[in-house]
Symmetry: C2
Subunit: 216 residues, 2 copies
């Protein structure tokens, strides 16, 4: 619950970049077998061949580490998705298709998914910045799928709702409380919101347009 060293990351040397990569790689490795609990800081440090203190210098907590891993994986995913854009006619279909593709990717490594998603939702205020980065990337993926160039505030809210559903549905699946089929139905259900017309004037829609409300 400490650590304040964000104000613009100083450029890393090559060896440092390599260490960072080794750490993230070891983390994903351990997460793939065993999930959240199997990612133990001492083991990550050992597998990445860095001292425990160094691991904590790079990632100030286990949660930071796993959220950073998620950022990493999201980058891969976004790149993959760009290569073959969704094919549906309606925006809602394209978004649902995109999310189901992401879902299938997560199903391939359910333990890794477990580790990343649990970290994401367990993160407290100290990890706001990093969680927000993940959220912005997810938003970007969804907006890409909609094809919208200049989304209205209402549409942004719809995208947020889709993201909420996405995260929470993942959790219920990971904790064994919902089936894959149910997640699919829920995603398709929420995506229907996209195609709804914007009501002309709704004063509630643009209270606090976007951007996080992170306190100093």
């Amino acid at each position: 619950m400490t650590a304040e060293v964000r104000p613009a990351s100083p450029p890393l040397t090559e060896r440092q970049e390599a260490r960072r990569r080794r750490i993230l790689h070891a983390t994903a490795e351990l997460a793939c077998r065993g999930g959240f609990d199997a990612v133990q800081m001492r083991e990550v440090a050992e597998a990445a061949e860095v001292a425990l203190g160094t691991l904590y210098r790079y990632f100030p907590s286990k949660i930071h580490l796993l959220v950073a891993t998620m950022q990493d994986q999201l980058d891969h995913l976004h790149a993959t998705l760009r290569k073959r854009p969704p094919s549906g006619a309606a925006a809602s279909e394209r978004v649902a298709e995109t999310l189901m593709r992401a879902f299938r990717a997560l199903q391939r490594e359910p333990n890794l998914a477990d580790a990343m998603v649990r970290a994401l939702t367990f993160a407290d205020r100290g990890v706001s910045r990093e969680v927000d980065t993940v959220s912005r990337r997810t938003t970007a993926i969804i907006l890409d799928a909609t094809g919208l160039e200049h989304p209205t505030p209402r549409q942004l809210s719809v995208v947020r709702v889709i993201e909420h559903t996405w995260h929470s549905a993942l959790i219920t699946w990971l904790s064994g409380r919902a089936s894959i089929a149910q997640v699919k139905v829920d995603i398709e259900t929420v995506c229907r919101l996209i195609d709804l017309p914007d009501p002309a004037a709704d004063p509630a829609a643009d209270a606090e347009p976007a951007g996080p409300a992170v306190p100093a």
Copy 2:
């Protein structure tokens, strides 16, 4: 990650019931100042005047304890809500009104909300049963607000999506990444799904109707 003693709870003696109450009360107390981190098992035990081992006999983990606390609070809430049912004309308005009332209740004790919600989303498979109870109570509250007597599978999916949004929006608020106004907009946005007509035939809608998919 052990403990299997659910198959019908044996009736508790009076003293046991009292202990259970003391524990839940102490938990809520500690949670109110300090949130999730302030609920420390040793402190709960001390405040409730039971031994640590006894605390663990009643609630096999901190997560179980906090989820049970949430069940407790939900009961209060549901009772309160029944007294003054929502007044909106459309089902979507009534649900939004109900959830916003619940939200305002949580705002009164944000630390307690933090403890309960974090526990809920962090819970792993070992807590499925208890989390599912909370989920069913939440569903009941929402269905009450809709006024629907015999919801269709599609409508149940909508209710699940609303629940997803509710949980996830709470998390973003608790972690300081969304304002109260944003949560309000998101809730109102997702509630618009309720008033959508049921498309006549959608084969996806009734794959795996309801009920948790908890493995033995």
